[in-house]
């Protein structure tokens, strides 16, 4: 049996963490993987902490529970570090990717002694410069694929472009911005 990769997303309602997990699932599906993408629904309101999950595998996945020992954790909102134990159960040989203007060295002390790899990406600057607004999920997705190498980068970029063309069929003007955000995040993520 091939290795199954498990990913946990931490964000706040309205930031698109759930959408990012679904986009990742779709992109991984397009590269021939078995996938799961699911959110943990809580009180659904803007700004409330939310969790979403991905499983990606070469073999069919039968598990239908949440993820407690992820290979990767993505923190879409830096302020969650103060209130949520984001690295709980995270494997030592895995990595946490935090949306922050800080360096990985500056973020590590906030991670309750996590010894594995810490990566940061300034999704706010990337999003605002490429999309003109703050949508952190696409840059975080790009950074995750770069850090985790869960799929071939070119195949991922191609799958995402096709997904954006489908999703934004009625507003094609945002496709280029999202693609630029994706490419920039893959170049600018720190802590590789």
């Amino acid at each position: 049996m091939g290795k199954m990769i498990e990913i946990r997303w931490h964000g706040r309602g309205g930031q698109g963490a759930k959408t990012a997990s679904l986009l990742l699932a779709e992109a991984a599906f397009d590269t021939g993987k078995y996938i799961q993408g699911f959110p943990e629904y809580g009180p659904e309101r803007m700004g409330a902490p939310i969790t979403a999950y991905n499983r990606i595998s070469d073999d069919p996945i039968t598990l239908h529970c949440n993820i407690y020992e992820p290979d990767y954790v993505v923190v879409v909102d830096e302020s969650l570090l103060a209130s949520v134990d984001v690295t709980a159960g995270l494997k030592k040989d895995g990595a946490v990717i935090v949306n922050s203007a800080k360096s990985p060295e500056e973020v590590r002390p906030l991670l309750k002694g996590f010894e594995g790899r810490v990566c940061t990406i300034d999704a706010r600057v990337i999003s605002e410069e490429t999309l003109g607004r703050y949508f952190p999920n696409v840059p975080m997705l790009g950074a995750l694929v770069k850090v985790s190498k869960i799929m071939d980068e070119d195949a991922f970029v191609t799958a995402m472009e096709s997904s954006f063309r489908h999703k934004f069929a009625s507003k094609p003007q945002v496709i280029d911005g999202n693609m630029a955000a994706l490419r920039r995040s893959m170049q600018e993520v720190k802590g590789l």
Binding site: L22, A25, E26, F29, Y34, I35, Q36, G37, F38, P39, Y41, P60, I61, T62, L63, H64, C65, N66, Y68
Partner: protein, 393 residues
């Protein structure tokens, strides 16, 4: 060519409904089933189906509209969850006793109270005596496949009963997973055209539907209704066989997973069966003879077949994602244990009530159940018959 895709359970079921293209859909939104009528109403608006979509003001009205439409001779569907199903209650019994083959996507959610939107089986388990066929699904694929099999079962002349296709709220309904979809024309051919024998719009053969039925005939009608449920078992198996010929995907009354030489087994329903299968695999790697039985068809209950499947085991744990407050365990336990009386009387049976209101069920939880079973198998002693798994006490 069948199409490989990635869809949530709700999307998959809505697509099955589109491919079936029923005459009438009447529905009222309730989490987590809301997306089904939402997606379907878009198919209606886009002209992709010929369906009359009736957006009603409550679930009681939804089921009433379904009954009216089905009695008129229209193939009819709906979807609901939890309190929506509860509000249909009165009409569920009427649909079944009028022998109207309506199909309902039941997206399992905890029945209030306390109010909760997450998954357990208290909604459909409560409707187990309403006279509806109930088929439970582990994955989005099973929900899609079962929805396509629903009408050939329900409309069969030996059955003519309404059918619920049940799958777990959020866990299955909102989780995106791989799926294989059939071509539209193959679904159309498999489901066939609905040709009711008696219906209200047949002006040449007028009938009454739902009149007062007093002691001279009421009992005979209930006896016929009971027989229809008995007949349904064979029709479900025949339909599954035809479906397997079409897709290669095999369905039965229940699924036996690694049961060949099993000494202990868990009996379970819906999505947690998948989590438990991963635990069975882990135990098997260690040489433990663990197996699993996943109940698919709960109504009609596979009494004989299940009893025989569990014969010879040392210990069985029946997993209930609902409590019936009987002070003697959950609804599945009562029926499985009863089925074991004829064929597996020497097998020890215990009950675990788990996952109420969406409490996540981890592999560790299931492992604990198998560890308990192995202890029972070794000692022959049951410490506690009815147990609650993963709860703070």
């Amino acid at each position: 060519m069948a199409r490989k895709d990635k869809l949530s359970g709700n999307e998959a079921v809505a697509i099955a409904m589109k491919q079936i293209d029923p005459d009438v859909v009447a529905a009222f939104p309730i989490t987590p089933s809301t997306e089904i009528p939402q997606y379907f109403s878009k198919f209606v608006a886009d002209g992709e189906v010929h369906t009359e979509f009736v957006p009603v003001e409550s679930e009681h009205s939804a089921m009433s509209a379904c009954i009216g439409a089905e009695a008129a001779g229209a193939r009819t569907m709906t979807a609901t969850s939890a309190n929506g199903l509860a509000l249909m209650w009165e009409m569920l019994y009427i649909a079944a006793s009028c022998r109207l083959p309506i199909a309902l996507a039941a997206v399992n959610r905890a029945l209030s109270g306390p109010i909760n939107i997450h998954n357990d089986h208290s909604d459909t388990m409560g409707a187990r005596d309403s006279g509806w066929i109930q088929i439970y699904c582990e994955t989005n694929q099973e929900a899609y496949d079962t929805m396509i099999q629903a009408f050939p079962i329900a409309e069969h002349k030996d059955v003519r009963l309404p059918i619920m296709v049940c799958f777990d709220g959020f866990i299955t309904s909102h989780s995106v997973e791989n799926i294989e979809l059939l071509e539209d024309e193959k679904v159309k051919e498999f489901v066939g055209e609905y040709r009711p024998e008696h219906y209200l719009l047949d002006k040449d053969n007028p009938v009454s539907v739902g009149p007062l039925d007093l002691p001279p005939y009421y009992f005979e009608h209930k006896r016929q209704q009971a027989q229809a449920m008995v007949n349904a078992k064979q029709v479900i198996l025949e339909t599954a066989k035809k479906f397997e010929e079409l897709t290669g995907r095999k369905y039965g009354l229940f699924e036996e997973y690694r049961m060949e030489d099993a000494e202990v087994a868990v009996v379970i329903i819906n999505s947690t069966a998948g989590t438990a299968k991963a635990v069975v695999d882990e135990l098997r790697e260690k040489g433990v003879k663990a197996g699993l039985v996943k109940i698919r068809v709960f109504r009609p209950f596979p009494f004989e077949e299940l009893g025989k499947a569990l014969a010879g085991l040392k210990a069985v744990a029946v997993m209930d994602k609902a409590d019936s407050f009987s002070a003697a365990g959950g609804p599945l336990f009562a029926e499985v244990r009863s089925a074991m009386f004829d064929h597996a009387r020497d097998t020890k049976a215990v009950n675990y009530i788990y996952g109420l209101g969406g409490r996540d069920v981890r592999t560790d939880d299931i492992m604990k159940v198998y560890e308990d079973l192995l202890e029972i198998a070794e000692t022959g002693k049951v410490k506690s018959t009815v147990n609650y798994l993963g709860v703070r006490e």
